[in-house]
Every structure is written in structure tokens, then in C-alpha cells.
């Protein structure tokens, strides 16, 4: 008798800006929007504070993908943190490409405090996409 294959449940780490995406997450919660529980949120004061090192640490320690959620361009509480975040992530993704690593496991998104439904939709999207990608080879490699 064939065993029922268990669905792969991706682990996702989310760095959420306090002023926007983290509030969107709260809003999604209070309005009971439906989204999967795979994303583990870490609240940060601005997307610009997320050094690539933290994204790397997550990916090398077991995360199958990482999201960074920040304020829309022009709306950063600290004026330009999100633009700088975008450069850091561009750099990180480029390095992944150069080294033949999977840059599609790194997601940067602008989600404002009022976009609860968009937050829920995005979490469904990243969870589905990561599920399709399967377990990250870095996540389980003890030699990294």
C-alpha cells in the first residue's frame, strides 16, 4: 500500500518593517484573512536595517526562503531605508546568481500598513512558490 506522501511545509523567515509590513500582518490577523502559517516574522525598524548577513544566516540555518517587507518607495519612515534595502538585496541576489545559488528564495516586497489583504495574498504566494521549489539544499547541509 502506497504511503500518503506528506506535503513539504517550507520554512520561511520574514523580516518585516515595523511601520508597514508588520502592521499589515497585524491587520491581516485582526480581519481574519486566511494565509498559511509557514512564515516566521521578525519585526525590524526599517527594511534598510536588514543586512544581507541576516538573510544569509536564515538561509544557511534552515530557512527555505526569506522575505523582506518594507514601505513602498517614497514612504519609508526614515526616508530612504527601503531604497538602500533594495540595493542590498540587488547585491545579494547578484552574488547568488554569480555563485550558482538560488536567488529566487530571496523576496523583497513593499506592503503598507493598510494592505492586510495584500499581505495575506503574498504569504500564500511565497509559501506556494517555495513549496514548488522544494527544500533548500543549503538549509539541510551541515557543511556550510
Amino acid at each position: 500500500m502506497a504511503e500518503k506522501k506528506e506535503q513539504f511545509e517550507p520554512k520561511i523567515i520574514g523580516f518585516l518593517c515595523n511601520w508597514c509590513t508588520a502592521s499589515a500582518a497585524d491587520l491581516a490577523g485582526t480581519t481574519r484573512a486566511q494565509y498559511p502559517p509557514n512564515m516566521h516574522p521578525i519585526r525590524v525598524m526599517c527594511s534598510g536595517t536588514v543586512d544581507p548577513m541576516y538573510v544569509l544566516k536564515a538561509l544557511l540555518s534552515g530557512a527555505d526562503s526569506v522575505m523582506i517587507g518594507g514601505c513602498h518607495p517614497g514612504d519609508c519612515h526614515y526616508v530612504s531605508g527601503n531604497y538602500k534595502a533594495r540595493r542590498k538585496i540587488a547585491m545579494l541576489k547578484q552574488i547568488f546568481k554569480s555563485l550558482g545559488l538560488d536567488e529566487n528564495r530571496i523576496w523583497l516586497r513593499w506592503i503598507s500598513a493598510s494592505e492586510g489583504p495584500e499581505f495575506a495574498r503574498f504569504i500564500r504566494q511565497i509559501t506556494e512558490e517555495t513549496r514548488k521549489q522544494g527544500p533548500s539544499p543549503m538549509a539541510s547541509d551541515w557543511t556550510v
Binding site: 544581507p52 544557511l60 534552515g62 517614497g74 540587488a90 547578484q94 554569480s98 555563485l99 545559488l101
Partner: protein, 376 residues
């Protein structure tokens, strides 16, 4: 427009002619001090020295094919706290000059009162290989007269073999030899300070002289050749190291001594995060990390260290190869950092060391750029 003078070389003695020019900078009071490579009495190395007495210049050997330390690192130590208060010449290779420019942007080098004398660079051997060169009774004059052969001299450091800019990009005075007949040397003034210095020394300055144009043409051709060579090199590198499995194999012999970071001229942080309290963890944190995967390599965070360094300074990597030279286990760091560095630099349209006014990619942004990253 080029402004240059011819340096007279008697009996083919290039080293002697260059040392004479350097001495003249003291004699004519253009400078009071100089950071310059001197032959070490041991005969096994040529090391940078900060001199105030021009008599030391009898030992100067700026074309000896060895570069123990990237001089940018030395200038950081020397000028970070205070700029020099007297005119000081710095004789350095193109990759050192480019690293200096990056450190000026990072407020680690204060260039006031420095006058930079760059060289057309035929490359350098590892410190550990230099004695071999000496024992074959070869001199720096033999070395430069043999021509500039980065691609053909397998003993040259890996970085030199694929060097993108073996000529100074921003020096005050460039000692030019590229594309010229062996034994011919020009002094090209690339700034007003450089021109004034040459005039004080009594050189007559030509504008766009034939010999300067000849060198310029050689540089243009070289740039095209190097581009091809680098393209092939990077394609091969990608095959060798692409993907997490191959990448972890490359670092299998890493002992996380961090010598690579210590030697890198553009890894400028006074205290690296990897030796800071951020990475001083209680035992249960290690154990929890181990539990997540069933086991983790120790010392922990080896690949994290290298990938973080790539993110933090990849845009400023000048390809000097100091990292690889410093590695006790011969990890091909130059290859890795030049691969990621050149592709990232292309993405940001940035050339480290090209222009001191050009902002570092990490400290600048445009409102409309990389929009695909936030939107997809």
C-alpha cells in the same frame, strides 16, 4: 589629452633611472618623505618602507615582482587619525592605488599632502615565490624588459594574470612603460599636482607626445584583450564553483582564521562583525543550531563569513589577490571575489578606484532602479 615627459634611461638601467627620479623629488624639495618598496637586506623580499632620508632610495626596487602587503592598508594605518603634515610621495601599483581611492571614500585614508606615483604594472609573484626569482639571478630590469606577459607567466599571482587595470587610473604621476620598447619610460602627469612636480624637477612636458599616444593605444588594446581573458576565466570559474555543493567543497579546507579579511585592503571595518559580540554565543545557541540540521560544521558560520564579506565589500574588490596570498590553505579566494565582484560592479555600473567622487553603491540609490526586485 596626455601630459608627459620622457625619463632618460642610461645603459638600459631602468631601476637606476627610476630611483634617480625618486631621489630628485627629495633633492628638489617636492617631498619630504616617501612610502616606497625597498629591497630587504635578506634578499628574499622587497618591502614597503616609509623613508625620510633619500639615501635609502639606493635600495628602492619598485618593479621587483613582489607585493607583500597592499599599500592601501599601510596608508590606512598611517593617515586614518591624521593626514600627513608634510608632502609625502607614495609609490604604488595600480591595484593599490585603486584600493586607496576606495579607502578615501570610506574615510579610512586622508590623502592631504600625499602625492601618488603609480606604475604600469607587469605583475607580482607570491612572497613565497619571490626568492625563486632572485635565486635565478634575475633582476627587476630583466623582468620588465621581458615584456608585460600576465597571461603567459604561470608563476604570477592569480590576480595579476587576469588584472583588468594594470596601469594607474588616478595617480598624480604614472611611470609608463606599457606598449613602449623595452627600456623606454615616460612620466605621465595625470593631475595638476603631478605636472607641477615634474616641472619642478626640470622636465619639459609634452602634450600628446607620440610616445604617450603609443602607450595610450596599447592600453586600449590591452583593455579589449583583458576583457576576453576575464570572460573565459569567469565562465570556467562558474563551472568549477557553481552551486552550493561545489561551493562548500571550495571552502572545505577553510580554518576560518580570517587572514583573508585581515589582508584585504578594502575590508575596512575596525572591528569586523565576525569577531564582535554578535558572534559570541552561549552554548545552547550552538546546540539549538545543531539540532535544526542534526549537526553543523564548526567553527560555525564559515560560509556565512565568506558570503557576508562578498556582500559587504564585493563592489570595492580591486582584484589585488591579497586575500588569496594570505590564505594558509590556498583557497582560490581571488577567483571567487573577482567573479562576484566584477558581476556586481557591472550591475551597479561601478568601477572601484576609478574616481574618488563616485559614491559607493551601498551609500547611494536612485528612486527608479531594480524595480523588478520589489514587484515580481
Amino acid at each position: 589629452m596626455t601630459k608627459s615627459a620622457t625619463l632618460e634611461v642610461k645603459d638600459g638601467k631602468i631601476r637606476q633611472a627610476i630611483n634617480g627620479f625618486l631621489k630628485d623629488l627629495f633633492a628638489k624639495k617636492v617631498v619630504k618623505a616617501m612610502l616606497v618598496p625597498l629591497a630587504h637586506p635578506a634578499g628574499t623580499n622587497v618591502v614597503q618602507a616609509l623613508i625620510s632620508d633619500p639615501a635609502n632610495l639606493d635600495n628602492a626596487d619598485v618593479y621587483a615582482p613582489v607585493m607583500p602587503v597592499n599599500s592601501a592598508k599601510i596608508l590606512q594605518a598611517m593617515t586614518r587619525l591624521t593626514p600627513t603634515d608634510r608632502k609625502t610621495a607614495v609609490v604604488l601599483r595600480p591595484c593599490e592605488m585603486r584600493a586607496v581611492v576606495e579607502l578615501i571614500k570610506l574615510k579610512q585614508v586622508q590623502p592631504d599632502n600625499l602625492i601618488f606615483i603609480g606604475i604600469d604594472c607587469p605583475g607580482a609573484y607570491s612572497v613565497k615565490n619571490y626568492p625563486k626569482f632572485v635565486s635565478e639571478k634575475k633582476t627587476s630590469d630583466d623582468f620588465v624588459k621581458a615584456g608585460f606577459m600576465w597571461a603567459d607567466d604561470a608563476m604570477l599571482r592569480a590576480g595579476c594574470q587576469i588584472c583588468e587595470y594594470p596601469y594607474p587610473l588616478t595617480a598624480d604621476i604614472s611611470i609608463g612603460m606599457l606598449g613602449l620598447e623595452p627600456g623606454k619610460v615616460i612620466l605621465q602627469a595625470d593631475t595638476a599636482q603631478g605636472e607641477a612636480a615634474l616641472k619642478t624637477l626640470g622636465f619639459s612636458i609634452d602634450t600628446d607626445s607620440d610616445i604617450a599616444k603609443k602607450r595610450q593605444a596599447a592600453l586600449t588594446k590591452l583593455a579589449a584583450d583583458v576583457k576576453e581573458r576575464r570572460k573565459k576565466f569567469f565562465a570556467k570559474t562558474k563551472e568549477e564553483i557553481g552551486g552550493i555543493e561545489k561551493l562548500t567543497k571550495v571552502f572545505a579546507s577553510c580554518i576560518k582564521c580570517q587572514n583573508c579579511r585581515q589582508a584585504c585592503p578594502v575590508c575596512y571595518c575596525r572591528e569586523c562583525v565576525f569577531i564582535s559580540p554578535t558572534f559570541e554565543l552561549e552554548s545552547d545557541k550552538y546546540l539549538r543550531q545543531a539540532e535544526k540540521k542534526g549537526g553543523i560544521r564548526m567553527p560555525a558560520d564559515t560560509l556565512l563569513f565568506h558570503l557576508t564579506r562578498m556582500n559587504h565589500m564585493g563592489n570595492s574588490c580591486v582584484g589585488c589577490g591579497a586575500c588569496e596570498e594570505a590564505c594558509p590553505n590556498d583557497i582560490p579566494l581571488l577567483k571567487l571575489f573577482q567573479l562576484i565582484g566584477s558581476e556586481a560592479q557591472e550591475l551597479f555600473g561601478y568601477v572601484p578606484g576609478r574616481n574618488v567622487e563616485e559614491p559607493l553603491p551601498a551609500s547611494a540609490f536612485r528612486e527608479k532602479e531594480f524595480e523588478w526586485i520589489g514587484e515580481k
